[in-house]
């Protein structure tokens, strides 16, 4: 029983780290630009497919493909911001929301045209399984956890320690004041989209290596990402990290001890529960 318990915590943390990556992108875009970037899941899915394509069709190695796909993702993020979100930056939030829905459709169907409808698994050489006292830890899952952790720490450092990160935080705190201080809000927006989309692509690649990428994963990922945001508090980076882990572990428990068919219902129930008890999210002091 205890072994089962630890096993599910491990499984949950691995999946939760992917949710965290998705949620980090969503939460920065939301916190800084106020956009519910619904197409984020589609960007992640695209990243997974692209990496698979780079490896299988062009024969590029796993790590270079991964990095290349993240770069392409960053570029895609900039394009999305410029072409679709920028024109409605001063309109009511519902407009950017609907733009996001349109983007989701477009990215997903273009992805279908480019890479087909089949689900693909990104091939990795990591097949060993480590067994510690009955808890099985496949090597691949450990790498997923480590990569996610590196990216999360990297992003946090970027936001907390660099000049551009300072600009991002300034815009998040007070947009007008930031403009008056000479910060170029447009480049901050583009930077945020680039960073977030690269993280989204990374999440898509990890999903593709761990499970599989298929046209259906995008909406699932983005809903989970938003569930994490609500759990942690919209716009909060620590919230995204804690929320992702909470959701991952709860789902793993639900799948193992309740029913795997209904495990996706857990994120909804958690969301409702948090909204009822702590509408500002687990990690925020007060709602805005």
């Amino acid at each position: 029983m205890l072994i089962d318990f630890i096993q599910q915590i491990f499984n949950g943390l691995v999946v939760g780290s992917i949710y965290t990556l998705i949620a980090l992108g969503l939460t920065t875009i939301f916190g800084i630009l106020g956009i519910a970037h619904f197409a984020h899941g589609s960007v992640a899915m695209f990243g997974g497919y692209l990496t698979y394509f780079l490896i299988s069709a062009l024969g590029i190695g796993l790590l270079p493909s991964f990095i290349l796909a993240m770069a392409v993702g960053a570029l895609l993020g900039v394009v999305l911001e410029r072409v679709a979100y920028y024109p409605v930056r001063n309109a009511p939030p519902i407009n950017s929301f609907i733009i996001a829905l349109g983007l989701t459709l477009i990215i997903e169907k273009l992805n279908l045209l480019a890479f087909g409808i089949d689900q693909v698994i990104i091939p990795t050489p990591f097949v060993n399984v480590i067994n510690i006292g009955g808890v099985t830890m496949p090597e691949l899952r450990i790498y997923v956890l480590v990569i996610a952790a590196i990216l999360v720490i990297g992003m946090t450092l970027l936001i907390q320690r660099t000049w551009i990160g300072m600009a991002v935080r300034a815009v998040a705190q007070n947009r007008l004041a930031a403009v008056l201080m000479g910060i170029n809000v447009n480049s901050v927006s583009m930077f945020v989209f680039a960073l977030s989309s690269a993280l989204g692509v990374a999440a898509g690649v990890l999903v593709g290596a761990l499970f599989a990428v298929a046209p259906g994963v995008s909406s699932g990922l983005v809903i989970k990402g938003f569930a994490v945001l609500i759990l942690g508090g919209l716009g909060s980076i620590p919230g995204a990290i804690v929320g992702g882990m909470v959701l991952g572990v709860s789902e793993a428990f639900a799948a193992a001890f309740v029913s795997s068919a209904y495990k996706d219902v857990i994120s909804f129930l958690l969301m409702i529960l948090v909204l009822l008890v702590r509408p500002e999210g687990l990690m925020r002091r007060s709602s805005r």
Binding site: A36, P93, L103, L105, K109, A261, L275
Partner: protein
């Protein structure tokens, strides 16, 4: 005066439509369009008039469809009765789901309702003993024939169903018009404009928001019930979040917060994809592009844009703010 004339003219045109257009396929599309207009009008109540984007219309349509189908097939309800009870059941579901969800605003609400749609979809697929899951429910009965003494209306015929859908749509339009023009409707508009002010003016906004949500859901449930008995077969597929997005698209395309907008938008979202007649994939790409272009260039939708256009040509009436 002119408005009333226009309404009568449109209804008259809709009544004679099947006499001139006898191609079954077009009548089929017209029926689907009218059903979807009902669903879109529901979305308009919450999205256009209250300003809360709900992404759960598809789920409520599904609840209505399954409720009506199951009541008539398993519980032996007459179809007419089950089509009326189904919206009530949908309303109960919406009340339960809406109460916690409406405690949050803006994006939070949209996200929660999207997740709600996902949950309903999962339940429809997995509650096999009730819904038969993915394969769906076959041979859902049509409404019983109506005997008016001199004429018997049987619903095996497509045309009879056309008039049923038309009657349902007119009824829905009449109810929605009455609601949005009432005090309740004005409160909903006040919530859309500035909820904090409305709250400060002493209005218990949550009651009105919950009402708008339940009302919009029961319209979707009603549309779903008609859909189930018209198609004779349902499975979870048409009730996914895509249907909800389509309803949102219909409202935005036509013009949110107008009574005629969802009619035009609903018709377009059903008929455009058929008219485009290209592969599913390209169709949806075109759709996505259309959505983005409309939001960027016609942020208020087709109907207000056309009204403005007509006014600027004729120079009559005041310009919309």
């Amino acid at each position: 005066m002119w408005t009333r004339f226009a309404i009568v003219a449109v209804i008259a045109a809709a009544i004679v439509f099947p006499l001139f257009v006898t191609v079954n396929y077009f009548i089929h599309l017209a029926i689907l369009a009218m059903i979807f207009m009902i669903v879109a009008q529901g979305a308009n109540v919450i999205q256009g008039y209250t300003g809360y984007v709900s992404i759960a219309q598809g789920a409520f349509m599904g609840i209505g469809a399954y409720a009506s189908a199951l009541l008539s097939m398993r519980a032996g309800f007459p179809v007419w009765l089950s089509m009326l009870v189904a919206p009530a059941i949908t309303a109960v579901a919406a009340a339960i789901a809406g109460y916690p969800s409406l405690r949050v605003k803006g994006h939070y609400f949209a996200i929660v309702t999207l997740a709600m749609n996902m949950v309903v979809f999962i339940v429809l697929v997995n509650w096999i003993s009730l819904t038969k899951g993915e394969p769906g429910l076959p041979s859902i009965p049509s409404p019983e024939a109506i005997n008016l003494g001199f004429i018997e209306i049987a619903f095996e015929k497509r045309r009879a169903f056309y008039y049923l859908a038309l009657a349902a749509l007119v009824l829905v339009m009449w109810i929605v018009a009455a609601v949005v023009r009432s005090r309740v409707g004005r409160v909903l508009l006040a919530i859309r404009q500035n909820e904090t002010f409305a709250e400060a003016a002493g209005i218990a906004c949550w009651k009105y928001k919950l009402f708008a949500f339940i009302f919009s859901a029961s319209l979707a449930g009603f549309g779903g019930a008609i859909y189930a008995h018209y198609m004779g077969f349902i499975n979870p597929t048409p009730f996914s979040a895509d249907a909800s997005l389509n309803a949102i698209l219909a409202v935005i395309l036509g013009g949110s917060g107008t009574l005629t907008g969802p009619l035009i938008g609903g018709a377009l979202t059903v008929i455009l994809p058929e008219a485009l007649r290209v592969a599913e994939i390209y169709r949806l790409i075109a759709y996505g592009l259309l959505l983005i272009l409309v939001v960027i260039f016609l942020p208020r939708g087709l109907v207000p844009a056309m009204v403005d256009g007509v006014r600027s040509i004729t120079g009559r009436g005041k310009k919309a703010p």
